[in-house]
């Protein structure tokens, strides 16, 4: 059991690193306005690797449950590892989706990137904090991630509301691409928050609904 738990931890930390780098690469590509084909390939490969790792985590988790019928903290960790792994896999997928926007819209260097940059900075911080919370089993840090999620949600909603409530003077492709990317960042923030919830569950044994 202990060997299996250790292996799960290793895979999750590997996924954490890969997914964090992947999101950073995608966001940087958007801010720079143009897609580097090598980066696009790198993000795609990472997304596939993350999905494979997610399956690996699921299989190992089921294997541990069947073989050892874990209870208490081991059970909580194994259960949470599947949720966390899925979160990391989603980071990879959304990074890929951002790269797809760049591919679809072409050169976006002339667009105003401020909203995305601010939101991306927050989102990357949430990713970093959720990973650190997981690595250190830090409930307070995990709690901070959950609180930040509301702010990212607001950024996305207010951007869309502004777009639809007043005439837009800029290029349509800038508005649409920014909306899509903000949406992906908002989803990444959600999954960071889910990971933080899972960390709190591992440590306290209480799900979010029970903690309220």
């Amino acid at each position: 059991m202990d060997v299996g738990i250790q292996r799960l931890t290793e895979i999750l930390m590997e996924m954490a690193d890969l997914s964090e780098r992947s999101v950073a690469t995608a966001v940087r590509a958007y801010v720079e306005g143009a897609m580097n084909p090598n980066h696009a390939v790198q993000v795609k490969v990472s997304a596939d690797e993350l999905r494979d790792h997610d399956e690996e985590v699921s299989e190992l988790a089921i294997d541990l449950i069947v073989s050892y019928q874990p209870v208490a903290s081991n059970l909580r960790f194994i259960r949470a590892s599947q949720e966390i792994s899925y979160g990391f896999a989603r980071f990879g997928r959304y990074a890929y989706d951002i790269m797809q926007v760049l591919e679809m819209f072409g050169d976006l260097s002339g667009c105003d990137h401020e909203e995305v940059e601010v939101t991306a900075k927050l989102t990357k911080e949430m990713i970093r904090m959720s990973i650190e919370a997981f690595a250190k089993r830090d409930v307070e840090l995990a709690n901070s991630v959950s609180k930040m999620d509301d702010f990212v949600d607001d950024k996305y909603r207010s951007y869309v509301k502004n777009l639809i409530s007043q005439p837009y003077s800029g290029e349509l492709r800038c508005a649409v691409s920014a909306t899509l990317i903000l949406r992906y960042l908002e989803r990444i923030a959600d999954h960071s928050s889910y990971i933080a919830d899972s960390v709190q569950y591992i440590v306290t044994g209480l799900r979010k609904s029970a903690r309220k």
Partner: protein, 290 residues
């Protein structure tokens, strides 16, 4: 009395000599119909300490056992769980040096008070043991053994009814209804255990104590006995001792963890197995308590 009979007495929870005991105590056998669902069978254990001579094996136990639920006692060997379950129907009374302080009440009556007859108590609190222990009698006679001793039926037809319903409740009727006159010893291990459960039910108890009832059975028989426990909990208060934590998680409503005579933690089964509050409980259920 031959040794075999003595052993059967001890393991059946009723003694052949019980036949002669006068019945005039406040704990009366249930008058409910055999197939009825009563609301009685609540056990309250308060400040209970148990001693064998100078050796204290249970320390100040406080626990409420609710009617029609399955309460599981678990803990490492020697923690006192078997002593505790046997204390609930005074099976330890004849152990030299055995004495208790505190109280065990069933529906408000302290079973260790002077007026309580251990024989009548055992009618209300049945026991099933680890090893199936059918008497070397027919299947029918095993089930009617208790009701016959205690003159609980007035006619052959009524006794037939008791046997049938008991075997039905034990999930055995369909398998052996055409073999009632055959020796119980011809049954498989799992069937024998369900027969012992039928025998315990036949005297209309309100509480069933089960001391590792499936530990000597194969996986299929274990599943049947576990399903049976859940069914029985609709009609009886079930107290189960088991070393099998997955079994405790599957069938238990409430789980009590004992360690070295102390009641360490009590909780709903899912909570105990997912999020125990005491580090000792976590160590035990994780197999790390040495």
């Amino acid at each position: 009395m031959i040794a075999e009979e003595l052993e059967q007495e001890q393991n059946s929870g009723m003694t052949l000599s019980d036949k002669s005991v006068k019945v005039d105590e406040p704990l009366q056998p249930s008058s409910d119909r055999l197939d009825s669902v009563g609301s009685r069978g609540r056990i309250d254990i308060t400040d209970l300490s148990v001693f064998y001579g100078h050796l204290q094996v249970l320390k100040n136990i406080n626990l409420a056992i609710e009617p029609h639920k399955i309460t599981v006692f678990m803990g490492p060997s020697g923690c006192g769980k078997s002593t505790l379950i046997r204390t609930l129907n005074r099976m330890n009374d004849n152990v030299p040096g055995f004495h208790v302080t505190g109280s065990v009440t069933i529906d408000g009556v302290n079973i260790y008070s002077r007026g309580v007859d251990p024989v009548l108590l055992k009618l209300r609190v049945g026991m099933v043991f680890q090893k199936p222990n059918p008497f070397p009698l027919s299947i029918y006679d095993n089930v009617c053994f208790g009701p016959k001793i205690h003159k609980m039926t007035k006619s052959k037809a009524e006794m037939d009814d008791v046997v049938r319903v008991s075997l039905q409740k034990a999930g055995l009727w369909d398998e052996i209804k055409d073999r009632l006159k055959e020796s119980a010893l011809k049954l498989s291990g799992g069937q024998q255990q369900r027969l012992c459960i039928a025998r315990a039910i036949a005297v209309r108890p309100e509480i069933l104590l089960m001391d590792e009832p499936a530990s000597a059975l194969d996986p299929g028989s274990t599943t049947r006995v576990e399903d049976l426990m859940v069914d029985l909990a609709a009609s009886y208060t079930v107290v189960l001792v088991t070393h099998n934590m997955q079994q405790a998680a599957r069938v238990g409503n409430k789980v009590a963890f004992l360690y070295r005579g102390d009641l360490v933690e009590v909780g709903q089964a899912p909570n105990i197995f997912e999020n125990p509050t005491n580090p000792l409980t976590e160590k035990y259920i994780s197999g790390k308590l040495v």
